[in-house]
């Protein structure tokens, strides 16, 4: 039996969609809106809502620019976001019996 510490869970990352966005950006470094939406297999509206939440929390930053006269939003993971992901993974691993993480 494993102790479940509810307080240790990051509520922002507990959403699967937000967790996917942060994990994707951890690998990519930065990506535009459409790439993130495609990677996490969701809709424009859903991706927008979750990206805004992550932005408000300070886990991602957005840079708006124009490419070929079209607006483009490029998202990046912040240090706080990367730290939160690491802590989230560490917490998940702590829930597993030692040596059985993989």
């Amino acid at each position: 039996m494993t102790d479940y510490d509810h307080a240790a869970i990051d509520e922002v990352l507990h959403s699967r969609v937000r967790l996917a966005i942060v994990a994707f950006l951890a690998g990519a470094g930065a990506a535009d809106f459409s790439a993130i939406r495609d990677a996490i297999k969701t809709t424009d509206g859903n991706a927008s809502v979750h990206l805004r939440k992550l932005e408000d929390t300070g886990y991602v930053t957005v840079e708006k620019r124009f490419a070929a006269r079209k607006p483009k939003s490029v998202y990046r993971l912040t240090e706080a976001g990367r730290r939160a992901l690491n802590e989230y993974v560490t917490h998940l691993e702590s829930l597993l019996p030692s040596g059985r993480q993989r």
Binding site: A20, A23, F24
Partner: protein, 199 residues
């Protein structure tokens, strides 16, 4: 139950991070352009052997135009925007690896042509071996295991090209390798980079 969910979440996170790294592998279009351009150079050289065409200016174009293409992309991504589009350390390492490889091979080609050493036929074997090493490193940096087999193909090709260094057919083999082991993997990377999936 909690353990199962935790294990599942960890696997999901790892898989998504890998997807991000793959997205960051933006070298695909450069590989296609270079593979096709250099293959044209080899085919033209082969035709000269059989028909008397002088391909010197075509080789200049086959090396110069891909450089312009790659440098334009580099300029747009790293310099004009001041910040790279994909600033992940793995993406940076890949870009610098290929930039260094391109500079090495271009300077060696100029030196070998200048001294007349190019006629001895070793250059293409060296190029194939160096390409194999660069592709092998890229496979690890980008977490693309299948690319390791492409590297093995280049190293095998290195031996073949060296064995054929005095034969005109070496140009045909080199052209085929450029298309199959550089342009084709590049095409695969381009199509995998921004997969369009249903919501």
């Amino acid at each position: 139950m909690i353990e199962d969910r935790a294990r599942e979440d960890i696997a999901f996170i790892r898989e998504t991070i890998e997807a991000g790294r793959t997205y960051a592998t933006s070298l695909g279009s450069d590989m296609v352009v270079w593979g096709v351009a250099v293959a044209i150079g080899h085919l033209t050289t082969y035709l000269r052997v059989g028909g008397g065409l002088s391909p010197g200016w075509i080789w200049a174009a086959c090396i110069g135009l891909p450089w312009l293409y790659s440098l334009r992309r580099y300029w747009r991504r790293f310099l004009r925007n001041r910040q790279p589009t994909h600033p992940g350390p793995m993406a940076k390492a890949q870009q610098m690896l290929w930039l260094g490889f391109g500079i090495f091979l271009t300077t060696l080609a100029i030196a070998a042509s200048w001294t007349g050493e190019m006629r001895l036929g070793w250059f293409d074997a060296v190029a194939a071996g160096a390409l194999g090493s660069t592709v092998f490193a890229t496979a690890w940096l980008a977490s693309l295991p299948w690319l390791r087999w492409v590297a093995v193909g280049w190293w095998g090709g290195e031996l073949l090209v060296y064995g054929l260094r005095n034969e005109a057919e070496m140009q045909l083999v080199s052209a085929a390798m450029m298309l199959l082991l550089l342009a084709l993997p590049g095409l695969v990377l381009v199509t995998r980079r921004t997969p369009r999936r249903s919501a």
